[in-house]
């Protein structure tokens, strides 16, 4: 086994069955981000209307029962909620990274291209029209809604000259406006209590998240992340354009559909769990790229960590800043995300104009 230190660590097992080139800075950063995320989660567990010290939180998590109330607060409310925030952030960030890769457009984000709105419409339809259906159906319905909208936008933005990524974004804005209008109309039609529960969900709130949501997002994370990892190598080739990628031996058409499916899946499940959270998928991949240069694999890891960090932080800010009033995390991510979007717009390539 050889290990050399420079900008990269080259890791090679004898026989070279395993040989990797690992960017030192990015790896260290990933480690730091992991520690940062864990600290943020710990901090998030201590903050709230019921004051707890970090020590109390940790021992409660380890199984010591300090008081029944503490156990309830940590295990029933704060811990599942924080876990859901972290998972959802991861999923949206990875979805954004995959979308930006496949559309070759740095401004792509599941909420900007109508995917979140598609999931939103599907879930609201389910909530308003068939309120008796179990919530187990939600992820599937959300996935179907997102997929239909994604296909619609792809179809609309494709013409004889092939798909243009900028048109994809504009089309997304139009389709999103249309779908939001239908969603609002549905909520007018629905009974007020159902409409109210749909409304809370639509602003992207993690308030209500419990263990069933944790189970849903973690299982789907486990299902959708390995394909993304396998696709990561092709993603790095696709960065250089479809023709180059084909020349290098990427089955571009298959990979494209696989990537879109995974991206839609990740965004749809996250949306089904907590409602649409905008701009996370936009910010996280760019932040990861700016923090450390790396190959696509490590970049995805960093993106996931940043996404988890951002949403956990947004949730924490939302419930701590104006306590006892809770600001849904979706509003916080929008307020953070829009300036970043404008900044990225300034940096985007002039040649990508319509």
């Amino acid at each position: 086994m050889t290990l050399r230190l420079s900008h990269y660590w080259v890791l090679r097992l004898p026989g070279e069955r395993l040989s990797l080139r690992l960017p030192v800075k990015a790896l260290l950063l990933a480690l730091l981000m992991t520690l940062g995320l864990l600290s943020l989660i710990a901090l998030s567990l201590t903050i709230g209307s019921y004051e707890m010290s970090l020590r109390q939180v940790l021992s409660t998590l380890l199984g010591d029962e300090i008081s029944g109330q503490m156990t309830t607060v940590v295990w029933e409310f704060r811990f599942p909620r924080t876990l859901v925030a972290a998972f959802v952030g991861t999923m949206l960030a990875l979805s954004g990274a995959a979308l930006q890769n496949v559309t070759r457009n740095g401004l792509a984000d599941p909420s900007l291209v109508g995917i979140s709105q598609g999931a939103g419409l599907a879930v609201v339809t389910l909530t308003v029209l068939w309120p008796d259906q179990s919530s187990a159906l939600r992820p599937w319905v959300a996935f179907a809604g997102s997929l239909i909208v994604a296909a619609l936008i792809q179809g609309l933005s494709w013409n004889r000259r092939g798909g243009s990524s900028i048109r994809f974004i504009l089309m997304g804005i139009g389709v999103a406006a249309f779908i939001s209008a239908i969603t609002s109309a549905l909520m007018t039609y629905g009974q007020i209590d159902r409409a109210m529960s749909a409304l809370a969900w639509l602003s992207g709130s993690i308030n209500a998240a419990g263990w069933s949501e944790v189970r849903m997002v973690s299982v789907w994370c486990a299902v959708l992340m390995p394909p993304l990892l396998i696709l990561s190598r092709s993603m790095s080739a696709l960065q250089m354009g479809e023709s180059t990628a084909v020349g290098l031996g990427v089955r571009a058409s298959v990979i494209r559909y696989a990537l879109i499916s995974v991206a839609v899946g990740l965004a749809a499940i996250a949306t089904a769990a907590v409602g649409p959270l905008g701009f996370v998928g936009l910010i996280a991949p760019h932040m990861a790229r700016r923090l450390a240069r790396s190959g696509v694999g490590i970049h995805l890891l960093l993106t996931a960590l940043i996404g988890a960090f951002v949403v956990t932080l947004a949730d924490l800010l939302g419930r701590a800043l104006f306590a006892p009033i809770q600001i849904p995390a979706g509003l916080v991510t929008a307020i953070i995300g829009v300036p970043v979007f404008i900044y990225l717009l300034q940096k985007s390539q002039a040649k990508s104009a319509l």
């Binding site: 048109r167 974004i169 249309f178 007018t188 929008a334 390539q349």
Partner: protein, 349 residues
């Protein structure tokens, strides 16, 4: 690209043609006025209690306070119809002017963020001062719309490639999302004050803000008049800044005038009916289909067609899901968004 420009620039016509067109176009105006009047009557007639058109006419011409139906017409339904006409006209004309000046087929007060700015200013003013004198509402909205217009334009201007339809639209969408989130936060922080604004924020004519109407209507009508006066120069400007300058138009000053006019129109509409998206996008495009690209005609036609359109949309909004009423803003988005998509598609091919 070239076909797109020609859509917004007048095509040179021989004198005979233009005089023939002039006759045809002016003949269209009375027809449209008649259609508008008909829609107006119908709008008043429908509702929880349907009234025959004759009753509506009677109530308007010879009002009899003792008749309950007359009261419904005069006090409940007439203001709403008047608001629909004025707001529809104002937004359509604002959209037409913006499309002409920015040579951007996607320009519209809603898409470019002006409405979000106006709504945000109103919401914040009410949030901070609890009660805002009605007289001030249009002006608060105007300040918000003005600031947002400038910010959106600056963002687009600084982006590589300058203020293209793409950058303007993206900047407008981003600012709208941002202000929308801030409004939602303000709403959560101060539930009681904002509860009354909820319906208004969805873009609705149901508020019957008669007090606002008396304040906003004069300004709105004045701005419509100014738009008529400016329309001749806008036609020239639509052919390009250089051409317009060559023909003796002070383009910078004209743009400021148009901006002020658009801001007043948008602000009055928002103060009256909340944000109604896509009206300013749809109407000028429909009008252009019939009368071409001369803004001297586009502006009055947009005003009339826009008024009739919003009356029609509002009728559907009230009837479609009876007894519930869909917010009018939802309806305008449902009609307008597909056109937006079509325009993006068309522009690309």
């Amino acid at each position: 690209m070239t076909t797109q420009v020609s859509q917004f620039a007048p095509t040179p016509e021989s004198p005979e043609d233009s005089s023939g067109a002039w006759l045809a176009y002016s003949a269209g105006l009375p027809v449209l006025v008649a259609v508008l009047a008909l829609m107006f009557g119908w709008h008043i007639a429908v509702g929880a209690k349907s009234l025959p058109l004759s009753t509506v006419l009677n109530a308007l011409i010879s009002y009899d306070a003792s008749q309950f139906d007359h009261m419904i017409v005069r006090d409940l339904r007439l203001p709403r119809a008047v608001i629909a006409v004025l707001v529809g006209a104002a937004l359509s004309v604002a959209g037409a002017l913006m499309q002409g000046v920015t040579r951007n087929p996607l320009a519209e007060p809603g898409i470019l963020g002006l409405m979000a700015g106006a709504s945000f200013a109103v919401v914040m003013a009410i949030g901070v001062f609890q009660t805002v004198p009605t007289v001030w509402l249009p002006w608060v909205a105007a300040v918000g719309a003005m600031v947002t217009a400038v910010v959106v334009w600056l963002i687009a201007q600084w982006a590589p490639g300058g203020a293209t339809p793409l950058t303007l639209t993206l900047a407008g969408a981003a600012i709208t999302a941002f202000l929308g989130a801030l409004i939602s936060v303000a709403h959560l922080l101060n539930q009681e004050t904002f509860e009354q604004l909820r319906v208004w924020l969805a873009g609705s004519l149901s508020g019957r803000r008669v007090d606002v109407l008396s304040v906003a209507a004069p300004w709105l009508c004045l701005a419509l008049g100014v738009a008529m006066v400016l329309s001749r120069k806008v036609t020239v400007l639509a052919m390009g800044d250089d051409v317009a300058r060559g023909l003796g138009v002070r383009t910078g000053w004209l743009k400021v005038q148009v901006l002020l006019c658009v801001v007043v129109l948008t602000a009055c509409s928002v103060a009256l009916a909340g944000p109604l998206g896509f009206v300013g996008l749809v109407i000028p495009h429909v009008v252009r289909l019939f009368i071409g690209s001369d803004y001297r005609w586009i502006v009055p036609y947009s005003a009339l067609v826009g008024g009739a359109y919003l009356l029609g949309v509002d009728i559907i909004a009230r009837l479609a899901l009876r007894p519930q009423e869909i917010a009018t803003g939802i309806m305008t988005a449902m009609v307008g968004a597909p056109l937006f998509i079509h325009l993006v598609r068309q522009r690309a091919s």
